[in-house]
């Protein structure tokens, strides 16, 4: 187990280094000089050169990259070109908001998705199964930002029950969380159903029934734990997607999260902020995937004891 985890951690570190390199290089090809953008249009060349020097943009590229990596390691991502605020602090503040939104949506998606998937599997072929699966395919196929707007229209404007913007009070969390979670609830429901139906067919389920265990107990104790393995794979990748998918929802509800930061930095060509945001989101994404892989080891003893890896 320890060797499995340490191997995954080393792999993740390599990928992170690759990401930092790609991010850095991509930013070099951005058209337009960010310094010129950031200063007044009539700024004289001497001022521009001074600012470039001050930001370390006149150094050779490898040196700039090393400075960038060094900064990342020390949690110093520079200052925003525009607000002059430290990038790390802005990221940290925005991330707290996004994390709250993503966690709530995640909870909503898991609870709704797994229970709907299990119910559908238990009532396979019945009307309850087909209606739940129809709903889930609609949930998966509707854009989340559109669901958000529909929710705003129904619950905010027509029924006047819930606020349609902001993210300050618990009541304001409801619509954004549902909007972001619906899509993932749909895909979790679908994989849960497939996985449950697959596991129910296995020989060990018959063995458990032959021991005289209750059907429900067999499903909860023997089937669900095995069925969780593919569900966790999906949930893991979806958690990463959720953190970025929140950008769309943040726009609809004007929530000051990481998504808003990313969109702002892109439209302003605010290089340090952009670098920071991209690195940061990629980091979260990769770390979440790492955690998912490690959590397999706890569920599936075959991986824990080094027989075969999660593939």
């Amino acid at each position: 187990m320890v060797s499995y985890i340490s191997k995954r951690i080393v792999q993740t570190a390599v990928v992170l280094l690759g990401i930092s390199l790609v991010t850095f290089l991509l930013l070099q090809v951005v058209p337009g000089d960010p310094v010129a953008l950031m200063l007044d249009r009539r700024a004289d060349p001497a001022t521009i050169a001074a600012v470039r020097h001050q930001l370390g943009l006149d150094l050779p590229l490898p040196q700039q990259y090393l400075n960038f990596v060094n900064g990342v390691i020390h949690l110093d991502l520079g200052n925003s070109y525009f607000t002059k605020a430290p990038v790390f602090a802005s990221l940290f503040r925005a991330f707290q908001v996004t994390l709250k939104l993503a966690s709530l949506s995640f909870l909503f998606a898991i609870v709704l998705g797994i229970s709907c998937g299990m119910i559908a599997a238990l009532y396979r072929g019945k009307w309850l199964d087909s209606s739940l699966m129809t709903l889930s395919i609609i949930g998966v196929s509707a854009p989340s930002f559109w669901i958000a707007i529909i929710l705003q229209i129904i619950f905010g404007l027509k029924l006047n029950l819930l606020p349609i913007s902001g993210f300050d009070t618990p009541i304001a969390y409801i619509l954004p969380s549902i909007a972001l979670g619906t899509r993932y609830a749909g895909s979790i429901a679908r994989i849960t159903r497939t996985s449950m139906l697959d596991v129910i067919k296995q020989d060990y389920i018959r063995t458990a029934r032959a021991k005289g265990a209750k059907r429900r107990a067999v499903i909860i104790h023997h089937a669900l734990k095995n069925a969780m393995i593919p569900i966790i794979t999906l949930v893991g990748t979806e958690l990463g997607n959720m953190l970025t998918g929140s950008m769309l929802i943040e726009k609809v509800f004007s929530i000051p999260g990481i998504g808003k930061l990313a969109v702002d930095s892109m439209s302003n060509r605010d290089l340090p902020l952009l670098e920071g945001t991209v690195m940061y989101i990629a980091l979260v994404f990769v770390v979440v995937n790492l955690l998912v892989d490690i959590s397999y080891a706890f569920i599936d003893p075959r991986i824990r004891y080094g027989k075969g890896a999660a593939s």
Binding site: D203, Y204, A208, R209, A210, A213, N226, R302, Y305
Partner: protein
């Protein structure tokens, strides 16, 4: 005078309603298992022997499968009239089952110990601690080395033979009156096969349980069974005691199976096999189901389905032992 029957199955019919049509997996099967005796059920895969055993346990997947009729009398009570809750009391406690694939029949995410104690905790009013002691005892009984260590291990850490021993320990933990073994040795090496059969025999003697041994291998039957039932395409084709069958097989199919047992003194390189395959259920012959593969078949075999007839106190489903056969000549 016959011994007391522990299990008596009468005219059992289990059908599967599939998209391709009705499949009569078990079609009018009757047999009895006496106390302390072993009944062998023989046949090729797909002949309905496993479905027969799952029907007794009432573990046939419904739908598509359904027990359409017949009686399953266990200790004089018809199991088909029991509720699901009553059946649960019987499964694992009074009738236990060992499955073919020890690789897949154990749950990969639970320890051996948890899986053995599960049956005990379900059926006996004992504490977890006592259950563990009983489970360790069972592991010793099936001769698993280092039972304390194995108790906390997972199925994938054990060899196939060890897993089948675990399955046996699990099924015998509540002292069942009837043990159904569905091809318990098919997936194992030859030497391990012999050990497992010996173990089943020995434990049967010790506990006085009855056994139903399901196999496609008459060699296994000769080692463990008192009586034999040969099945073909969902029907019984021959029933007799093991001695009688080996001395004088009546049905051409039984003869064919007999020829498939490897003999030590034969010098042929290839084993004889029965030509052809079990007919699929959507392509069942009108007459005798075995007719297309039978070397002795006559015209009547193509036209009419034979009944189970008595021959010297034995039962066989073949026209060779009827008047019609002699008449056709």
């Amino acid at each position: 005078m016959k011994n007391e029957a522990l299990l008596e199955v009468k005219n059992l019919r289990t059908y599967f309603h599939t998209e391709a049509g009705l499949v009569k997996s078990v079609d009018g099967v009757s047999f009895r298992v006496e106390k302390g005796k072993t009944l062998g059920i023989v046949g090729e895969s797909g002949c309905g022997k496993s479905i027969t055993s799952l029907s007794i346990m009432q573990l046939v997947e419904t739908p598509p499968g359904k027990i359409e009729g017949g009686e399953i009398l266990f200790e004089g009570e018809n199991l088909l009239n029991k509720t699901e809750d009553e059946m649960r009391e019987i499964r694992g406690k009074k009738i236990a089952m060992i499955f073919q694939e020890p690789m897949t029949s154990l749950n990969p995410v639970y320890t051996i110990g948890k899986q053995i104690t599960e049956a005990l905790l379900l059926h006996e009013k004992i504490s977890k601690h006592e259950a563990k002691a009983r489970a360790l005892e069972m592991l010793k009984l099936v001769r698993i080395p280092l039972p304390e260590k194995r108790f906390n291990e997972y199925p994938h850490q054990l060899s196939g033979g060890m897993r089948q021993r675990v399955m046996i320990a699990m099924s015998l933990s509540c002292n069942p009156q009837l043990l159904i073994c569905d091809e318990p040795t098919t997936a194992l090496d030859v030497t391990i096969q012999a050990q497992i059969l010996e173990l089943i025999n020995e434990l049967k003697e010790k506990t006085g349980s009855s056994v139903i041994m399901i196999t496609h291998d008459l060699g296994v039957i000769s080692e463990v069974a008192d009586d034999v039932m040969v099945m073909y395409a969902g029907k019984v084709v021959e029933q007799a005691s093991t001695d009688e069958i080996f001395e004088n097989p009546l049905h051409p199919y039984t003869v064919g199976l007999m020829n498939c047992i490897p003999k030590l003194n034969s010098d042929v390189d290839t084993l004889p096999t029965i030509k052809g395959m079990v007919p699929s259920f959507d392509n069942m012959p009108k007459g005798c189901a075995f007719c297309p593969r039978c070397s002795m078949a006559k015209k009547i075999c193509e036209q009419k389905a034979p009944e189970l007839v008595d021959v010297d106190g034995r039962k066989v489903r073949c026209f060779r032992y009827t008047k019609e056969w002699k008449e056709e000549a």
